[in-house]
Amino acid sequence: MKIVGKKFPRKAISVLFVGLNRLISAFLAIFLVCSLAGCGPPSGSGAASPALKTFHFAMDQAPTTLDPVQGANIYANFVIVNAYDTLYSYQYLARPYLLKPNLAVDFPTVSADGLIYTFRLKKGVRFIDDPCFPGGRGREVVAEDFIYSIKRQFDPENQPQGAWLWQGRITGLDEWKAAGSDYAQPVSGLRAIDEHTLEIRLTRPYPQLTATLAQGYSALVPREAVEKYGKGLGVRPVGSGPFRLVSYDTARVVMERNPNYRQEPVDLAAEGYNPATQKFSGVEAIQGRSPPFIDRLEFNFINESSASWSSFTKGDEVQLTVLPIEQIDRVLASKRPVTLRPEYAAKYHVYGGLEAGFVFTAFNMDYPEFGYNPDPERERRNQALRCAMLKGYDWEARNHSWYFGLGEYFPGIIVPASPEFDPALSRASVTRDVAGARKLLKDNGWTPDNLPTIVYGTTAGTTERLFFEQFRAWMRDIGFPRAKVVQKTYANFGDISRAWKRSQLPLVAKGWGLDYPDAENTLQLFYGPNASPGSNDANWKNPEYDRLYEESSVLQPSPERTALYHRMNQIVLDDCVAITGISRTRIYLWHKNVIAVPDREILGGFWLKYVDLKPEPANIPALVKGG
């Protein structure tokens, strides 16, 4: 049966198209209204003028705030150390990482007892121009700004995250907080001798103090900005760093050159330049010139690796990215050393950077099933159980499954990025020995029936599930029944952190990034008094270890201190308190017109002010203008 007549479509569709035209017109009207109302970015904030030297790069996550008082993660620090000044920073090219003065004139003068540090600040450094200052002109940075900024870390109103670095260390600071964090009240251990001289008095020697003053937490914030913007400082940094913020949203951060940034010509030798390994990057071009060299920085937050890769390979939409794991076989010609296939080598530079940190799994010793137990015999058997699990763990497989086979797994908790790392340490604890593990279990009376159930906590997600399945497979190899290795999932990192801090998980699988290049930063993870909710998630308490930690914690870097570190490391290994560890390798790719040696460790973006772009024919006039 024919239902519709032949004339139906032509006229009917023409009528419909009239309606469609109206709809499109209405949409365009809405667009124009939105544009006028400011839906799009303000002029000059969104798209960079082609005349500007702009460096676009990808990061896998956005910072949650730009306020140094909460600058806890690498993503926030990428922006913070470029918007603000810290007294110290790290040499651009030196690996292992080496401190250098930044806002400080030089390294501090330290009293003989190691308790009084005196710092000299550079003169004539100014905050960026901002309405928070009288007349809108940035004033000079002075020693009182440092004192104010450290006080902010001890004011609970700010929800500070960096206080742990100085807690119990600086004279009078904890008392100042206990008295109500009144900024009008002085702190006996923080004194501005004059506008450019600062004195810090310590309760006990703290050799890492100078390194803590390179961290974003210690960035100098002007009081005027805090008083004017309050919590809004988290989206509107007012600092004296090489760049100033233009815009910040969930998709990207745009910064532009601070036109008043101090003139400090680059001395590549002082930045730790190694021609043998770094000449390819072209960094010699910045010798003798004052950074920053680019006009704009664009941080693009791209969580999806496919989008990041497409943006990177497209042209100059993103000029620097971390190589996604799924592209590795397509892009790399070899892994050791990391080299690119010819078609990629023609366009990009590559660098495999070892993580300044590690991934490990600690046994929570609060659990009597394999930790501390009132029965000494059981506790002895528990230690054997832990050691057997260490033997059963397959670091090589993990490295190949998850880190391109490029990670560096090592015994103990002193990571390769620490100057105190001992490459000669026996690798027995990271070498898989299934037979040895089975024998150890058998010799100590462990059978499939009496082995305890192991609860492996992870955040929810496919990758985490695969981590667990791999772990379970290894444990089954040494004799654990399948049902005795179980996964417990948490919705997000905050939830699993809560479980760790409340000592509610038997196994703590986590990563730790170095706050400063000193093995103390990882050794403190097993210091007894740091037990939960502190950083010692293993809740391990070894009197000898704790004594050595306390002894070493007041020593300046020296062979004597390194020897103590190594003894502590060995105690951790002997007690089999953690399955440890691996430092991952990130492979950075960047376009050949970019002059840089990228990194994301320790401080995040401390190297961004040294980035330059090679002149290209179309850009030459702009480069001449931009300097």
């Binding site: 569709i13 419909l16 002029s43 999806e304 989008a307 497409s310 919705a491």
Partner: protein, 316 residues
């Protein structure tokens, strides 16, 4: 006047709905949602610092007090500051317009093109154009939105594909740049929406076309365009309106979330995604409230539109 009275009555009737939605979602957030405490603590916290942060976040307050505070925030439309320190209202004012101009083209074109394809499929019902359109519709419905997004990105934007548009980013400062950034998200949205919309519209149109009054109208010799507009499409308007109206909240929140995340567009969807990931409760509370209010408004508007298109509908 009758419509206004009806809208006001429905708005009042919608208050318990908003109340219920906010209560349930707030309870879920409090008891099962992310705990920001441990994300805001430093690396080596003391028990005192944990208590301080919990106090700062208001976690130490009784549930009822926290919920009343939430209601106050809704009434005053002041949701405090997000974890970045930015006022949530400022964040919404910044992100919602971006999402609107991002989603609108795909939303409008999806429905319009879906309707046109449905008309064509209905006209040639059972023949190859109908089968072809329905096959494409099934593909649109079957393929994951995520795959569609990645596929469109690779095909239209990447250097491995046609390289016609930016892979990601956003700039609506001029019509030209806006069109270059909005095209691929729009096509991806349309591709998925077309599947559902075309099938739905086709089935409604086909059903209407077979009714007696259409056959009668045709027997009277009325022009086909008139039959289409007055006898078929007009009678289809009630299900059409329902379809369009109830896809608004879904598109505004769910669609924008994926699209904005993959295309790096700073709209409300991406802000919501980040808030979920980081446990930014002030933002989540604002989004939940707005979604509930949007649903109520859609229901009211939906009923009012019924009345507009069909005078037989009584607004009681």
């Amino acid at each position: 006047m009758e419509i206004l009275q009806y809208a006001l009555r429905k708005l009042l009737a919608g208050l318990p709905l908003i109340f219920g939605v906010t209560l349930v979602s707030f309870a879920l957030m409090v008891y099962f949602g992310p705990d920001m405490t441990y994300q805001l603590l430093g690396k080596n916290p003391t028990p005192e610092q944990i208590l301080e942060v919990r106090h700062q976040l208001g976690y130490d307050q009784p549930f009822l007090q926290r919920y009343l505070g939430f209601l106050r925030e809704i009434v005053t439309f002041n949701f405090g500051e997000s974890s970045t320190g930015e006022p949530v209202t400022a964040l919404l004012a910044k992100t919602i317009p971006v999402s609107l101009i991002l989603i609108l083209p795909g939303f409008i074109l999806g429905h319009v093109v879906g309707l046109l394809l449905a008309l064509a499929a209905a006209y040639w019902r059972g023949r190859w154009p109908d089968k072809l359109i329905m096959a494409i519709a099934v593909i649109g419905m079957s393929v994951s939105f995520l795959i569609v997004i990645i596929g469109f990105q690779i095909v239209l934007s990447s250097s491995d594909g046609l390289d016609l548009f930016p892979v990601r980013g956003w700039n609506a400062s001029s019509l030209g740049s806006y069109l270059s950034y909005v095209t691929v998200p729009t096509l991806a949205t349309m591709f998925v929406a077309l599947g559902y919309d075309t099938r739905f519209y086709r089935s409604v149109i086909v059903e209407e076309m077979t009714r007696d009054h259409v056959r009668t109208a045709r027997a009277f010799g009325l022009p086909e365009s008139r039959i289409l507009l007055r006898n078929i499409l007009k009678n289809c308007l009630i299900p059409f309106i329902t379809r369009v109206m109830f896809s608004i909240p879904q598109v505004a929140i769910g669609g924008a979330l994926l699209i904005e995340s993959y295309f790096g567009i700073p709209g409300i969807g991406k802000a919501t995604y980040e808030a979920i990931v980081t446990g930014d409760q002030p933002v989540l509370k604002a989004v939940v409230s707005l979604t509930a209010i949007l649903f109520v408004l859609v229901v009211i508007l939906n009923d009012v539109l019924y009345r507009v298109v069909d005078p037989r509908v009584t607004l009681k």
